[in-house]
Symmetry: C2
Subunit: 451 residues, 2 copies
């Protein structure tokens, strides 16, 4: 039987009623003839509540113990879902990450999956059971020891678990159920004209997810791309098809070979529209969770940037956009952005180094946001970036920093202007006359994502 | 270093403040020079809340999944306690039942420990760490398979985990922390004159625990007796010595050899009073969680009792007291008691059999309670039972059923009279003039016990 992996986020299993609805959906897939493997996150706010409990005891609890604690959230979910499925009369078994064969390194709280061993899952499937696996968690096997310790995979870990299992089991599709109906051309809360994207490539999805979309975690998309796992992002509250994330060539066509099992598991009709890709922009994303740091009047000599960014890397602080402004004399301003949560630590680290380097001061600014356009078609359309800058200029929006890749252009703007920026860019690239409806692009709605 | 096992119940770790207090106590023991292994239950009402969640999904959830669910309660506790201990600067590691080497059979929800493998615990202790182990849970290893499934040990499982670890690690003492200060000569809520018992034998403790006391689970006492693990029952809210449960001969003296490690771990001074046992009664217990079933006018022929009790055993319903009243003609009344929770099921089973046997009717009665006197000294004092009946008669309390063992006498009485019965028996056997204070006996306070 073909294997179907389904992943349900925390909001989809938040209470008895929702658990029952998920159970019914799982059982329906089973009765359609699939071997079903279900990955679940912790219920609703469970993870946050557990973090709160730990923080009351210690501001910075040991990571191993945090993983031991947080793993209970998913373990409770799998048991409850198994109970709900059993009540519908289908054979079912729940498995922890360890039992599901999710092996990781021992970087507690952000462990990486090193190996997936599906023996137990295959045996349970062969015995006719629906298999429920705890997302977000794994187990270490230290070299030469018998220490099996519980780890968690960090933010978006359940998506990663689902994709990893789909790859290992050569699943037909990995369905990611969330509380929105798919990936959109822009956040519908900002842009009423935003449309659901029926199909999107891994590359575009990855850029969009990295640029502020939280429907799918970038890590999971990356893993899916490596193993060619087709992902179907859809809502657990409706039956409508969502967004397929899969291999597409630059023209937006399906490639000849798709699916890790060589089977194309697309929702009916989704791929029927448009044989050619006419849109250069797939979607508009925005990310308000950014902050700006400016090191003012830093001596302009070799090695300065290395010192500053080396110190940040050592503290595991990710730096996003970087720009260096050459001024008169021998000094320069160094500007970069970080995730807003990291701002305080980044400021501290940089102030220390800046002092040693003789820079004048370090400024922190949270009133910024990033707006981006994403589209594989941009590779062949060099004028797109200019059109973006022009559109923002028309709106009187000042661009503070620009960063580009082959398939996206991002601009840092004043936070208060981000909604206006998203709307104008969506109108310019995705709504204006002459656009073909063939295959539309998309941005991602900002939704709360379970672990 | 000598090993000390400490077990904390759910109420002792119910919130941040209590976790901190337990952490401080654990660290103090460590700094006194012990290798400390701590067993904890789930926080407060966690287990009940989880059961409630499951019951909302299904009236009778699969036991394997219930164990998967309930095990999260203890797993969260061990992580939180480890975090609290780490915050005090002591090296610490938390271990699930599986990691702690607690292997069980696969009788989910009431699994029996089949093997304790302390390699990991010993390694962590050798590395200088305090080790926290999840109580109440274990893991199966099915013959010839690699299926490690999570089990729970049932009611009082954490006490059992603690005693099993103490035996395996040859601990000096197994300290059971609860919310009362020890084992009492009677429930202090009923008998203001009740006193704490400094030392009690395994046999007496076992009878008392089985007869309604819930400070210690009978299973754990039994295991402690088999492996000669000295238990110290004490309060997590105070430093005063509690009750030592250990090997004693019938005279109340310490035996020559005690302690699984050959070390006597008694709280100071506890064993200094009285070299001879003068009290025949150690304590008075009562149990309101009983119900009576009467099969009226059952034919008095061989095999009848076997049919009835066989049917009950098949349903795993424990029967406690049994009495058969011979009446005129060929008929008899068969009366027995069960745990109140089992009454409905017992009634159903018996009605079925009674109908087949041609009995007239089956009566159920919840308005009963059991009162017992316990004492190893009764073996050599045959007049004790008569004195008990006389005392109850003086109070106008009717005895419905009597059951005895070498070291206890139990009477079933009207529920409304049980407090009066306990008070009069405590006065008669434990307070009256001429009694030596040397070594007093005891009953157990009724306190809510964690898992």
């Amino acid at each position: 039987m073909p294997v179907l992996v389904q992943k349900y986020g925390g909001s989809s299993v938040a209470n008895t009623e929702r658990l029952r609805r998920v159970a019914a959906r799982v059982v329906a897939a089973r009765r359609e003839g699939f071997d079903v493997v279900v990955v679940v996150s912790a219920q609703g706010d469970t993870t946050d509540d557990l973090i709160q409990k730990a923080r009351e005891l210690a501001p910075n609890p040991p990571r191993r113990e945090m993983d031991m604690l947080l793993a209970t959230g998913e373990q409770a979910s799998i048991a409850l879902l198994a109970i709900a499925i059993d009540a519908l009369g289908e054979p079912v078994v729940s498995l922890t990450g360890a039992q599901g064969g999710i092996y990781t390194d021992n970087l507690y709280s952000k462990a990486k999956i090193t190996r997936v061993s599906c023996d137990r899952i295959r045996r349970e499937l062969a015995a006719g059971k629906i298999v429920i696996v705890a997302g977000f968690q794994g187990i270490t096997v230290e070299q030469g020891s018998s220490d099996y310790d519980i780890t968690t995979l960090g933010r978006g870990g359940s998506d990663t678990t689902a994709v990893a299992l789909a790859a290992a089991l050569q699943a037909q599709t990995c369905e990611i159920y969330t509380d929105v109906t798919g990936v959109f051309t822009a956040d519908p809360r900002l842009v009423p004209a935003a449309r659901k994207i029926p199909v999107i490539s891994y590359g575009e999805m990855l850029e969009m997810a990295s640029l502020g979309a939280v429907v799918l975690q970038p890590r999971a998309v990356e893993l899916a791309a490596v193993w060619s796992v087709p992902i179907h992002v859809r809502s657990s509250f409706s039956d409508e098809p969502g967004t397929m994330v899969r291999e597409l060539n630059a023209m937006g066509n399906q490639p000849v070979t798709t699916g890790c099992a060589g089977v194309v598991g697309s929702p009916e009709g989704v791929l029927s529209a448009g044989a050619e890709r006419e849109m250069v922009v797939t979607g508009v994303t925005h990310d308000a969770n950014v902050a700006k740091v400016v090191v003012v009047d830093v001596p302009d000599r070799p090695g300065v940037a290395a010192r500053i960014f080396g110190a940040l890397a050592k503290q595991r602080i990710n730096v996003d956009m970087i720009v260096q402004t050459t001024k008169e004399k021998q000094e320069t301003d160094l500007l970069f952005t970080v995730c807003r949560d990291d701002l305080a630590r980044a400021g501290e680290v940089v102030r220390q180094v800046a002092h040693e380097l003789g820079a004048r001061e370090v400024l922190e600014d949270e009133s910024v946001a990033k707006v981006s356009i994403v589209g594989a078609g941009m590779m062949m359309n060099p004028g797109v970036a200019a059109m973006m800058f022009e559109t923002l200029a028309e709106q009187g929006i000042n661009i503070q920093v620009i960063s580009t890749s082959e398939i996206k252009v991002s601009c840092l703007v004043e936070a208060s202007q981000v909604a206006q920026a998203v709307r104008s860019l969506h109108r310019r690239f995705l709504e204006e006359a002459g656009e073909s409806p063939a295959r539309t692009g998309g941005s991602v709605t900002v939704a709360t994502q379970g672990t």
